[in-house]
């Protein structure tokens, strides 16, 4: 492919912030996005921006006692679009951004910081009940239903006696009917665990040798298809989740993407073969996954096993000297994307030619 036929990644809007930003998310069905972070004075902040003619205007700022680490709209209805957040104190709260004085739902979910959060069942994405999953430094992964107070609907923690690992990332998947649902969790020691919420059991686990910074299914609402896990030392692994071999598990391909930590991976919602990774040196890489000719084959004993495809780099760009902490594609506009970096900046990016690759 000619260098000029590749998609371009252009920083459309840059906004400097006066706090450390950890997460940013598009508000579904709108031109708005939220940023979450912490002020130097130790308080938490949520800001709501709207894109208006090439500029991002601050609509609302919410300051709370504890710094916010992560947020999701995944379990909210399209009408309400409540933001679920995890904070440094282990609280899971759900906010109505229109009336943010008191949280709509709040629970002290974990003993330590909530590193990561994901939601499913809202926004018309994923069948079944609205659920939120949180992963914390206290080693537990808990699934919450906003309709049930105080207690999680599922709690995954290490067996007594086993050391507790810092959970860095969680993701929902496989929510293609009302019963089926899985949670994938990545830990600081490189463990990737797949919990089956229907059977309430561990379905699969592997170790990618380095801390798992981000995991994401290509889609939450289909029979699980692909899973990407990124790691601390710059690699990412793409697992083909269609075929599980009894001993070998899922087939995967790995790629050295960045020279530094891959902080985040996000699939393009309009085309899940394309995904973006965000790096510790401020770089963004746009990738494409190609399926193999046959996605499964029989091993020597005649048991089905998966075959991994290949990945190719479409484009890369360096935006910042600091790590890019979060990245989110607009679910409504192809090629629109927001990312936050530790240089206290949030950027709205445009990626062109995505319909041509």
């Amino acid at each position: 492919m000619n260098a000029f036929e590749k998609p371009q990644i252009i920083a459309h809007i840059q906004k400097s912030l006066n706090y450390t930003v950890f997460d940013c998310k598009w508000v579904p069905c709108s031109a708005k996005f939220v940023t979450l972070g912490n002020y130097a004075r130790g308080t938490g902040v949520i800001q709501l921006y709207e894109i208006q003619h090439g500029d991002a205007t601050l609509l609302r700022e919410i300051e709370k006692a504890k710094p916010f680490k992560c947020g999701t709209f995944g379990a909210a209805s399209l009408q309400q679009r409540y933001l679920a957040t995890g904070d440094f104190d282990g609280n899971l709260s759900i906010w109505n951004l229109e009336a943010p004085l008191m949280p709509v739902y709040s629970v002290k979910g974990h003993k330590e910081i909530i590193n990561t959060i994901d939601g499913v069942g809202g926004l018309g994405i994923g069948e079944g009940a609205p659920e939120i999953v949180t992963g914390s430094r206290d080693g537990t992964v808990k699934v919450w239903d906003p309709r049930q107070k105080d207690t999680p609907v599922a709690n995954m923690e290490p067996v007594q006696g086993e050391s507790k690992r810092d959970c860095w990332t969680v993701a929902f998947g496989n929510a293609y009917n009302q019963e089926e649902r899985v949670v994938c969790a990545g830990y600081d020691n490189g463990d990737v665990k797949l919990f089956d919420l229907k059977k309430m059991s561990l379905r699969w686990e592997t170790n990618i040798k380095n801390g798992v910074c981000s995991v994401e299914f290509d889609r939450k609402d289909i029979n699980m298809n692909k899973l990407i896990a990124t790691s601390l030392e710059g690699k990412f692994h793409v697992f083909d989740m269609r075929t599980q071999h009894p001993t070998k598990g899922f087939a995967s391909v790995s790629e050295k993407a960045h020279k530094s930590t891959v902080w985040q991976v996000r699939h393009l919602p309009q085309n899940r073969e394309i995904f973006m990774t965000a790096g510790g040196a401020g770089g963004l890489h746009l990738w494409k996954y190609e399926y193999p000719v046959q996605r499964s084959k029989k091993d020597s004993e005649g048991v089905e096993m998966g075959v991994a495809g290949s990945v190719s780099l479409l484009q890369n760009v360096t935006l910042s000297t600091q790590p890019i902490s979060s990245l989110d594609w607009s679910p409504d506009k192809r090629g629109l994307c927001v990312c936050s970096a530790f240089d206290q900046t949030v950027r709205v990016l445009i990626v062109t030619k995505l319909n041509k690759v």
């Binding site: 000029f4 069905c29 506009k333 090629g335």
Partner: protein
């Protein structure tokens, strides 16, 4: 390809890319408009559809799970799987003897009957243990007879937790507080009227074994009250009373108040006040108390005057806080008019008026003043002006009171 043609191609591509970007931005603008419209429509839809279509996960297991350790039951499920016959294992299913399994199940049922009943009630969130409840009741009764009410209450509470359907326990538990609360209350009262409290309580305790004797108890207390009055020599001046009030320990501004009331009592001595048997209430702690005291003293204006006098004007903001009731306000003005003009220095009246005007809902209280009350304030200001108090601050104050 020559370098020249390469350069041309490069330029072309760059132009192409720029156009593409421009298109995107233009497209973005129109998308912005559309999506904002959609956003607005969504926000105006309040109905939450399908909220309760799906059950909450593991709702039925919640209580059982709490009792267990919260470790994920990976191992147990694996064990279960081993014992289970796979659905496609037709041979094993063929060998399965259903009758013996049913028999075994029946046996298990009968042996674990009591256990299963217990676990069933546990699922409802209520656990009944009537044996324990009865034992606790007996224990509580024993304590009750010995007069150890706190221990008795503990026992009844435990019993209630064990069997919430037993009606005796709550009744027993309630009977204690009624008795002791009355005694404690009376004890407080007795302390206030400065009687040997222990004596009274012992009398009361013997008299009110059961709660129906409340009336008896109050009769006793009123008797004590009157005997208190008998004890006081009739020749005694109000001074004795005032000094007694000072002794009440729970007035926070005791030092301020002491000096003030000392001055009071000397003045009272000078102006021989008719002796009234009702006791002068202590300095009120809040406006509600003040209001009720005012109501009590309604029929004895002299007492009202003395009562108001013992309240330092500087305490008004603390006393009234946000609730200066027009009634109270007007009553104060009336007292000022009826007594202070004759008996007090104009400067004190001025101070009180000043303090009142600084209160939060003062303006509203002024708005509610009737004609006669306005005359009262007029008279007050006239009095002050006559006695030589006339400067800008008084004028200002007058304006505020007449607005």
């Amino acid at each position: 390809m020559t370098s020249a043609s390469k350069a041309v191609e490069l330029q072309l591509q760059m132009k192409h890319n720029a156009e593409e970007l421009q298109d995107f931005v233009k497209d973005l603008e129109s998308w912005e408009k559309d999506i904002k419209q959609m956003d607005l429509e969504l926000r105006n839809q309040n109905g939450v559809s399908g909220e309760n279509l799906f059950p909450v996960r593991n709702k039925n297991f919640k209580k059982k799970k709490k009792n267990k350790t919260k470790v994920p039951s990976e191992k147990t499920t694996e064990e279960n799987k081993k014992n289970r016959i796979k659905s496609y294992d037709y041979e094993a299913w063929g060998k399965l003897d259903v009758d013996t399994i049913l028999e075994e199940l029946d046996k298990e049922d009968s042996t674990h009957d009591s256990v299963s009943a217990e676990s069933e009630s546990e699922e409802d969130g209520i656990h009944i243990d009537s044996q324990k409840a009865l034992a606790e009741k007996e224990k509580g009764n024993k304590y009750f007879k010995q007069g150890k009410y706190d221990e008795a209450i503990d026992c009844y509470t435990k019993g209630m937790a064990a069997d919430p359907y037993n009606p005796v326990l709550p009744t027993n538990r309630a009977s204690k507080p009624l008795k002791t609360v009355i005694i404690e209350e009376i004890g407080n009262l007795v302390q206030n009227i400065d009687l040997p409290a222990t004596n009274t309580i012992s009398v009361l305790e013997t008299n009110c074994i059961n709660p129906t004797n409340v009336t008896k108890a109050s009769a006793i207390i009123s008797k004590k009250n009157s005997s208190q009055d008998d004890v006081l020599p009739t020749s005694d001046t109000p001074r004795a009373k005032v000094s007694k009030i000072e002794e009440i320990p729970d007035t926070p501004q005791s030092t301020v108040h002491q000096s003030f009331s000392m001055k009071n009592s000397t003045e009272i001595e000078k102006i021989s006040v008719p002796f009234i048997t009702t006791v002068l209430p202590p300095i009120p702690a809040n406006s509600f108390q003040l209001e009720s005291d005012f109501r009590k003293l309604k029929n004895s204006p002299d007492m009202l005057y003395q009562y108001l006098k013992q309240i330092e004007p500087s305490l008004y903001p603390k006393l009234f806080q946000k609730s200066l009731e027009p009634d109270v306000f007007n009553q104060i003005l009336k007292i000022l008019h009826d007594f202070y003009i004759d008996k007090e220095k104009p400067s004190l009246i001025l101070e009180i008026l000043q303090r009142l005007s600084e209160l939060k809902r003062f303006d509203m209280a002024v708005m509610f003043m009737s004609e006669s009350e306005k005359k009262v304030t007029c008279a007050l200001f006239n009095h002050m002006e006559k006695s030589g108090l006339k400067d800008n601050s008084v004028e200002e104050l007058k304006k505020r009171y007449s607005s």
